[in-house]
């Protein structure tokens, strides 16, 4: 155990400035009386002007290990996550080999534990090899030491409705959730590389229309109702999806959803230069979709912000747009994007940020120790934000092994000052501790 830490004068959500004492991995004391807590033998972090949030939780991270350690490793991805204010990340299953067995899940979990800067929680594949045909060993992954609760074939959609139905039914036994990459392959096939619309028409790129997402979301909502199970919509990207989600909630159907930072800020216009940095799946959508997603996040129709952090080696992006890999980095910049889009505009306050980036993701993922209120006895997973700061993103300064960073050169609001995992600093003053 490290020395106790006193976070002095930070702004607590729903309250004024307070001192927070962290010891033995938990929050030992909270005082709104300045100077009331003992500082002898305690490491003091001056948090004057900083906002104290529960540690951020990412529902959707690609760490690439095993299989593509040239793009990212669990170590480098964990460092990027900590710098982004995260204390837990869910590592997607589309590695090589795929995380579709208990052993594979335990290995990812253990590698994360060894690095020890964020809790790395593996996501299990829904189907063997992500092939969409036979269920993976969902129960064994759930019962493993990794305790998998979220299952996803992300990168691919579970196309077959019968397979999806069985998966939803099966995970009820252990409180699991299926996180779906919603993309109907008959409407958006393998050549689809961007949003289908005027820009794809002009550029001659094969698009995928929003309806290809919406029909799967609608189908899965009905399957969730039929099975009485929980479905989670990964990276929602269209206004139509938001409409379906609103209807599902009005019917009391157990559906949750996430949106990525890039779908909250970037639009199809970014594609005009054919820069594969902006090639992502689902694709960047027009401004009207972006606006609907912002509204949905603000009013709670969309529960969470998830990064879909997708690192790629440089050479995997150095192809023609249609041939380049899908995905962009996101862990280190997510908070800044949310602050720029949602906080600066008044759509979310910092309590709202905590809701969509910590409380809700932890709840959806079943990570009981994360996303907790800042109260005595709770685990000391904390993120200190400087709301007055602004950061001009430099992709070369990233902790990630990859550089496919769409925010390079842009200035984002706020900055992560400190991250604590179980009371231990992983980031101090914006740098790895």
């Amino acid at each position: 155990m490290t020395d106790p830490i006193l976070i002095q004068g930070g702004s607590l959500l729903g309250g004024g400035a307070a001192d927070v004492l962290v010891a033995d991995g938990v929050i030992a004391a909270v005082s709104t009386t300045p100077g009331a807590l003992e500082t002898t033998g305690v490491r003091v972090i001056d948090a004057d002007g900083l906002v104290v949030l529960p540690g951020l939780v990412d529902l959707h991270t690609h760490l690439r290990e095993p299989g593509r350690e040239d793009a990212e490793t669990i170590r480098t991805g964990s460092h990027a996550a900590a710098l982004g204010g995260y204390t837990a990340v869910l590592a997607m299953a589309n590695t090589n080999p795929v995380t579709d067995t208990a052993e594979a899940a335990e290995r990812v979990h253990e590698l994360g534990r060894q690095v020890g800067v964020v809790d790395v929680q593996p996501v299990g594949a829904v189907t063997k090899g992500l092939a969409g045909e036979e269920l993976a060993e969902l129960g064994l992954m759930a019962r493993s030491r990794a305790g998998v609760r979220v299952f996803s074939d992300d990168g691919r959609c579970v196309q077959d409705a019968r397979v999806m139905r069985r998966a939803l039914e099966y995970v009820k036994a252990f409180g699991g959730v299926i996180s779906q990459h919603s993309q109907d392959s008959s409407l958006a096939g393998p050549e689809a590389c961007c949003h289908e619309g005027e820009i794809s028409g002009r550029l001659g790129l094969t698009g995928w229309p929003g309806v290809a997402e919406e029909v799967i979301v609608a189908r899965d909502v009905m399957l969730a109702r039929h099975t009485g199970s929980r479905v989670h919509v990964a990276h929602a990207s269209t206004a139509g999806t938001v409409e379906v989600l609103r209807w599902a909630r009005s019917q009391g159907i157990a559906v949750t959803a996430e949106v990525t930072p890039h779908h909250l800020l970037l639009t199809t216009e970014e594609l005009l230069g054919y820069d594969p940095t902006y090639k992502v799946n689902p694709p960047l959508r027009p401004a009207e979709d972006v606006e609907a997603l912002r509204d949905a996040l603000a009013d709670g129709t969309i529960d969470a912000v998830a990064t879909d952090h997708a690192p790629h080696a440089r050479h995997d992006k150095q192809h023609a747009f249609g041939d380049a890999a899908f995905g962009m980095l996101g862990l280190e910049t997510a908070l800044g994007v949310v602050a720029s889009v949602m906080v600066d505009s008044g759509r979310l306050d910092w309590a709202g940020v905590a809701r969509v980036m910590s409380h809700n993701p932890a709840r959806i993922a079943g990570l009981g120790g994360h996303g907790r209120p800042i109260e005595v006895g709770e685990p000391a997973h904390l993120t200190l934000i400087d709301p007055a700061a602004s950061v001009t993103v430099d992709r070369e300064a990233s902790a990630s092994l990859s550089r496919n960073n769409p925010w390079h050169g842009r200035t984002l609001s706020a900055a992560v000052h400190t991250t604590l995992l179980r009371g231990v600093p992983t980031v101090l003053e914006g740098k790895l501790a």
Binding site: G197, E198, G201, R202, G204, L205, Y274, H319, A320, D323
Partner: protein
């Protein structure tokens, strides 16, 4: 002119007129017994074709050779991605050999734009996916200007598989700027997505009814139905397409004998164009091919011979 020719949008109208003037001179050279000019002696042009092509590659090759450039053809069958090498590595390797121009055809839209960012030499887009084919548009316009005298206020009708046509995308960008009124005709399934907004901003018209449009045409350009790109059933049968959108013998009669017919080739005879129409007296299809060499000579000359040079 710009260093590269990636899109018709890279060209001003002055550029186009200059290219046409030079092309006319080059056209005369083609009729000589010795078809050789010294203009690009010592310059190297590589035709890098990642996608199959006969007429465009041969046309560029002849254009380079008749200007005395050292011209090499390289076939990058399939995409570089499928070979495990990035496109960037492939083109940098070739450009490092001391090349003055890369003429590139690639199956992916935007590929030539990206290549132009990586290499120091000139890049000519010889067709990128379903995006653009600027020299085809130039030769089409050049051919029509020679026949019609001017494109000002002429009604040009493009018919066919617009979704998959790079020829359409370049032509619609160029013909309008030369003063033509352009109408594009296709079944709704072969209209590019977002065409309503695009046509409104770019100033062309759209129609699903060829028979309504054809009698008002000053020239008609038939586009190939790209069956190899059609996995999704864009129309029920070839017969139904021909009845709706083919330049049939009956429609040829409606068109009259003076209205020129173009087709960028290769043609699907009997599908989008009847043999009678392809071989009709007013057909400019072979003239397009002949003009193509002259136009590409003009393009290479202006890109590589330096400003102020004369043919």
């Amino acid at each position: 002119m710009n260093k590269h020719l990636l899109s018709v949008d890279d060209l001003t109208i002055d550029d186009v007129n200059t290219l046409f003037t030079t092309a006319a001179e080059m056209h005369d050279v083609q009729r000589r017994e010795v078809k050789k000019l010294p203009a690009l002696r010592g310059r190297t042009v590589i035709n890098l074709f990642f996608e199959d092509s006969t007429r465009t590659r041969s046309s560029f090759e002849l254009a380079g050779k008749w200007l005395s450039a050292d011209t090499i053809n390289l076939a990058g069958k399939g995409s570089s991605a499928s070979k495990g090498e990035s496109l960037r590595d492939t083109v940098l390797t070739i450009a490092s050999m001391g090349v003055d121009a890369l003429v590139i055809r690639h199956s992916a839209s935007g590929a030539c734009h990206q290549v132009a960012e990586w290499v120091d030499c000139s890049v000519v887009n010889a067709g990128d996916g379903t995006h653009e084919h600027p020299t085809q548009a130039l030769l089409d316009a050049y051919t029509l200007v020679r026949r019609l005298g001017t494109l000002e206020d002429k009604h040009i009708v493009l018919v066919g598989d617009l979704t998959h046509s790079r020829v359409f995308r370049s032509n619609v960008g160029l013909l309008g700027r030369l003063g033509a009124r352009v109408t594009v005709v296709a079944p709704p399934t072969l209209m590019p997505s977002g065409v309503e907004a695009w046509s409104a901003s770019a100033g062309f018209e759209t129609s699903y009814d060829l028979d309504e449009v054809l009698p008002k045409a000053d020239a008609v350009m038939m586009l190939r139905v790209q069956r190899e790109r059609m996995s999704g059933g864009f129309f029920p049968t070839a017969r139904e397409y021909t009845v709706g959108y083919g330049l049939t013998r009956d429609r040829l009669a409606v068109l009259g004998e003076e209205v020129p017919i173009c087709h960028p080739g290769p043609m699907n005879r009997g599908l989008e164009i009847a043999a009678d129409a392809a071989d009709a007296a007013q057909s400019l299809i072979l003239e397009q091919v002949s003009s193509g060499v002259a136009v590409r000579m003009s393009v290479l000359y202006h890109l590589l011979a330096g400003e102020g040079a004369s043919a």
